[in-house]
């Protein structure tokens, strides 16, 4: 199950999509809209995607990551449009027979999503807005290192 939606995200459908009798471990990851970046107050977020490519990439990454770690199934949903601070912007569900595979696949999937899925985040501050990671982002240099942007 892979979904891009302008509606609030629900975890239970994703959990159900990956759970099953063979899977003793199900990891649910919530990526929530954070109310501050580098000490600046964020008043809201908005996401934009190249939707057909984002969906295709979410699927391809799931196949690659599940195969590499021995995970059984991966489901992912991402919000588009405005997301109020504190609400969930991304939901990921990963199942595996045992927890090690599910946790490792969860960590790698998030990392790959942040590198390769064409979705963009716009942070709104009290005095303006910026596309995260763009040439206009004062944090872009800091974020250039792997994992620098959480």
């Amino acid at each position: 199950m892979f979904l891009l939606t302008r509606e609030p995200l629900e975890a239970e459908p994703l959990r159900r999509a990956v759970a099953g009798p063979a899977n003793g471990a199900v990891v649910l990851f919530y990526g929530d809209a954070r109310g501050a970046t580098a000490g600046r107050r964020v008043t809201g977020l908005a996401y934009e995607a190249f939707e057909p490519m984002a969906l295709a990439t979410l699927r391809t990454l799931a196949q690659e990551v599940a195969l590499r770690h021995g995970a059984s199934a991966i489901a992912c949903a991402h919000r588009l449009g405005p997301v109020p601070v504190g609400e969930t912007a991304m939901l990921l569900a990963v199942s595996a027979p045992h927890r090690e595979a599910a946790l490792a696949a969860t960590a790698e999937y998030i990392l790959r999503l942040k590198q390769d899925v064409p979705i963009w985040k716009r942070e709104q501050f009290e005095d303006g807005a910026v596309w995260v990671g763009s040439a206009d982002d004062p944090q872009a240099r800091r974020a250039a290192g792997p994992g620098a942007r959480a």
């Binding site: 990526g31 934009e48 190249f50 590198q115 390769d116 064409p118 979705i119 963009w120 990671g133 763009s134």
Partner: protein, 81 residues
Amino acid sequence: MQVRVSYFAALREAVGRDEETVEVPAGTSVGALAALLEARHGSLARHRAGLRFALGTRFAGPEEPLHPGCQVALLPPVSGG
């Protein structure tokens, strides 16, 4: 030949539109198209770092050739999740 170009996020705002049709010589590569677009839209130049391209819905390198009617997307550094 004509190709369709789409812009996203910071690039869409820099160019002031989300897509356009561009006339290019047969055999033009993705990278040559990017140079042509940068000449047309000066505001694109500062977004060169980390810029990636897609042909259809897959990433494409700058050396890849364009085809008549193809869809090219200019993708600034992604920031989902």
